[in-house]
Amino acid sequence: MTTLADPIQTGTTPSPPPRRSHRRRSFGYPRKGSVWSYGALLAVVAGSVFPLYWSIVVSSQTSDAVTKVPPALVPGGHLFDNIARVFDTTDFGRALVNSFIVSGSITVSVVFFSTLAGFAFAKLRFRGRKALLVVAIATSMVPHQLGIIPLYILMADLGWTGRLTAVIVPGLVTAFGVFFMTQYLGRAVPDELLEAGRVDGSSTFGLYWHIVLPAARPAAAVLGLFTFMQAWNDFFWPLVVLQNNATVQVALSALASGYTTDYTLTLTGTLLATLPILVVFMLLGRHLVDGIMQGAVKG
């Protein structure tokens, strides 16, 4: 919990203070990276990227490439044939659409409700505020995965099994989101600004809409990014409850099942399922890095 207590700084992109001094002191801290540390880091990054690179290699080759010894190491020219084959084999298009619907709705909802609750916890005075906040934070530690059996019973009673609502509704709020926004808004919105708004006759919701929401944008972006990735990658619950109306991860696991797996097909699917996340990560990943380094984002 100690590292969670560090709130994000105000401002656009929260980042650690610059440590580089203008003069190149040989003595400065942190120390200058040696050739050795660059080499080791590059090796680590190569190891991080390799599985992704490998799936590009396999998915751009013909099916026999995956059984070649020694293995093929450069991409070929059959990527689009394989992609077409994935869409012929399963309803991957529908799975992609499903995943966009699920992840999109969950992201918008989590950001909205977290900002709303975070505003109340950080900036409004009311009875039981502290106790309720503690409850909200404590619940973020609960292993939800273990509640799936009653959750399934509940969904069956509601008639939601096999429908996207069964995945969307339980994801609409997260304890982590509330905690995250409470931390941020406590710092980012000056009390004087809210007082001034009140004097001008603004209602509480008016304050939220006109002052808090705009101020919350940088943190909302990080929370949204994080939420979208989690929702997109979620597997266990959609597998249990969606059955034939699969999201991308479930469709992917179906593609890989069977006693003889067609790995060219499967790894092409893997690439397709990872691509949206990869694009988002390339564009906004540095904010995610900053968010984790503030100690605020937990997996």
Partner: protein
Amino acid sequence: MATYLHQARRAGLSRLDTKGSPYLYILPFFLLFGAFGLFPLLYTAYVSFNDWDLLDSGSHRWVGLANYREMLQDAYFWNALGNTLSIWVLSTVPQLLAALWIAHLLNHRLRARTALRMGVLLPNVTSIVAVTIVFTQLFGRDFGMVNWALGLVGIGPIDWQANTWSSHLAISFIVAWRWTGYNALIYLASMQAIPHHLYEAADLDGASQAQQFRRITVPMLRPTIIFTTVISTIGGLQIMAEPLLFASSQTPTGGSDRQFQTVALFMYEQGFREFRFGYASAVAWTLCLVIAIFAIINFLLTRRIAKDED
């Protein structure tokens, strides 16, 4: 007079707004979380005291502790618990050590700092399904690259799925690969908070870099190290997707001899293959308690160490 009444009403409304509306703002969270997060978890306890068959919809019979009694005598449960702890240790210990080392490397003045950090974090944003599928191919017995590479140094092809030790090793590797970079960034953030004068003083005393790492960096990181251990405990003991997908047949038994079935996977098997909801709930609740016990032990440990440093 009319204006006065109007003003009074407005004041009343505005009081209602300031006193009452905060509850309205936090209500959606507590309502949704209560209904779909907390209630299912508590209801698990109730279901676990029943003989509850999914197929025979809704019909259930109170059986008291029978499910728990059966579980304690179920060799499959104990097997799954052993596998879970083994995979947890095998993935967590090397993962956190590697993370510490990577954080140390990143804690230099570096060019392309952001790119390197993103590169390290990349495994964590790819999905468990994608990662496990790719690694299952790489760990393939006949055409996997891991066996090909081992073959170059004269180690015969390993059937990674077939044995207990090899399957635990492979699954732990997959888990560790996905989480090492994330933990490295957490450590890096803590390392940056260590006061520089400690290192300056050590330099003057002629301490080597390795000594400084062992005597300054690691002790200063202790609370963070224990925090990451807690988080890895909560996550690691729930592992389920990796062993499910590591078996190419994707049967939830975790291999032909259950050699890599985890407790969470055992719960899934009992619930959604055998349709024994009551029994599966007993397993879930037990796992929940195991996780809680580990988490509390770690929390107390954290507090004690934090106190020692004051």
